[in-house]
Amino acid sequence: MFEKALIGSKKYWGLVIGLLAIMGVGAIFYLQQWNYGLGITGMSRDVSWGLYIAQFTFLVGVAASAVMVVLPYYLHNYKAFGRITILGEFVAVASVIMCLVFIIADLGQPTRALNIVLYPTPNSILFWDMIVLNGYLLLNILIGWNVLASERKSVPPPAWVKPLIYISIPWAVSIHTVTAFIYAGLPGRGFWLTAIMAPRFLASAFAGGPALLILLSLIIRRFTKFDPGKEAIQNLGKIVAYAMATNVFFILLEIFTVFYSQIPEHMHHFEYIFAGLEGHGKLVPWMWTSVSLAVLSLILLVNPITRRREGILALACVIVFVSLWIEKGFALVVTGFIPSPLGRVFEYSPTIPEILITLGVWAMGFLILVVLYKIAVTVKEEIEA
């Protein structure tokens, strides 16, 4: 099937070359990071995780969201999603690969990365994250590829794929739960020390991922002969609406607990992102943007009149994605370190090389997605022709 990715229109090749170029720029700056060390990033002794780990956290959510199309189709036999399960699974493949690359990009000694496997340490959450992420990647490659290959030959998928599909459903929940545990189990980091971290991660994942899937479906319909289907897109829209509402609800729960209990160690972080602390407030405009976008997206998504219009639905999905990216793809990780355990407010902003490396990894993820989607869509076009 892979040959399908090697034959394409000028637009397709233009996109591929464009993404390769961005990857190239990222690679050049990564080389600089390799030689100099992580000091070329904006990270510091106080804020020791930054953009890379935040991207990883956000993308785990995007990956986990595949389950939102797989579950209704395979467990409830909801036929409309049958057309797009492959799209969800391939988004998962691309995002998990990006997650792994972001972790490697964040390591101070990337050549020693295999030490995690050579000296397995079950008490470390990072060890389990390595297992669940790689497992999820493998599951989605196996499932997506085999189901697509059978579809192409108009035969049912091999029998051994079914159990894998069932395993992949709780597995999707596990990747985001384990990723939340990385943060939620640390003493002395009041911003993260909350049992609702995993549910929050899942809610935001099930909003952000399907929002991306809607946008991708609309793009595919526009540029190819394959139509993911109006019904599927509409129902994904409902999922985004519910998940986004849940996510906002969970954040309000956090805010209640933190501000009603008045425990300074928990409160300072929220003060920092929403009002600024000791005259430092780089994140304040970002956070209020995120909040406003979240509210706006809810208005557009909950109201059936606006949600049913595909143009507005698409806009709402862009808003959801941006809002969640600010919240989870940046602020969530950085704010955990501000103020530091010693009460110091040392702000973080990513440097240009750091941003370009990040863009390079995103370009790599999109390239994988474009190639996989090219294969999937070509196969689907052939079947329908």
């Binding site: 000091g39 995780w49 390591l107 030490n115 340490t121 008490n123 943060y183 640390l186 003493p187 009460g343």
Partner: protein
């Protein structure tokens, strides 16, 4: 039995997967045994700890910092973004945020407190390390294995005392005089106080304790009832940093 190319690749792939999974299973089974034997051992023969007498600590004095950083090749990077420190001072209020109030007396308000790794009994940094690059020794010292550290900085997020520093760049250009008897670090690893384990092995006391002219620092085995440190702990009221987190810090402060 007939094996075609596809079948062969599938079986081969499963085989490789099996080889990859085996060491994981081995370790999981070993850990259970280790835990079981640890529970049996109720008495520890040795538990190293330190007492800091803040009343004796003179403002502006940096003897212990100079001694430690000199002997351990700790680079002097002035930039707070990249700085590395094993032992340093912070105001009393920052060091003990739980004890902060308007009327702090006894000259403690704004006075410097010596901070270093707490060599916790229940260290959260050790719990999160994915490679056992940081681990707790039998005598309680929380050690760093710089050979094994992958630089993920999970330990820095887990340490509630800000005791860990990361080498954001090559530290060597920032070391004024390299002590040839102790290694430097390389870029990309985390470092922190090691309770002078290399000196203890030669029968010496930690460099900071040795260098303090005002006798503000004491070091010893708290499992030994007749030790000097136990005497100090008996006759003075001491506090620890953030004891409510359950990490069991082993640096005791006389205020």
């Amino acid at each position: 039995m007939k094996i075609d190319r596809r079948g062969f690749l599938k079986i081969g792939g499963l085989g490789i997967l099996g080889v990859a999974v085996k060491p994981v299973i081995d370790v999981v089974s070993k850990v259970k045994l280790a835990e079981a034997s640890a529970k049996k051992r109720v008495l520890v023969e040795k538990r190293l700890a330190m007492v800091v007498n803040l009343k004796n600590c003179k403002e502006g004095c940096t003897d212990c910092i100079n001694a430690c950083h000199g002997v351990h090749n700790v680079p002097d990077i002035a930039n707070p973004k990249d700085e590395i420190k094993w032992i340093w001072t912070e105001s009393y209020e920052k060091a003990f945020p739980d004890q902060e109030h308007r009327f702090i007396g006894g000259g403690m308000k704004g006075s410097p407190a010596i901070l270093l790794c707490n060599h916790c009994d229940n260290p959260s940094c050790v719990r999160v390390c994915p490679t056992k690059a940081t681990f707790k020794r039998e005598d309680g010292i929380v050690m760093m294995d710089y050979h094994r550290c992958i630089g993920c900085r999970f330990c820095m997020a887990a340490c509630p005392y800000g005791s860990r520093s990361f080498n954001w760049r090559d530290p060597r250009p920032f070391i004024k005089k390299i002590n040839p008897n102790f290694p430097t670090r390389t870029k990309g690893v985390v470092e922190k106080c090691n309770f002078c384990e290399e000196r203890l092995a030669k029968g010496l006391i930690p460099a900071c304790v040795e260098s303090c002219k005002n006798k503000a620092l004491a070091f010893g085995n708290v499992e030994e009832p007749n030790s000097e440190i136990r005497g100090i702990l008996r006759s003075n009221y001491t506090i620890r940093r953030k004891p409510g987190l359950g990490t069991g810090p082993q640096i005791y402060y006389i205020v």
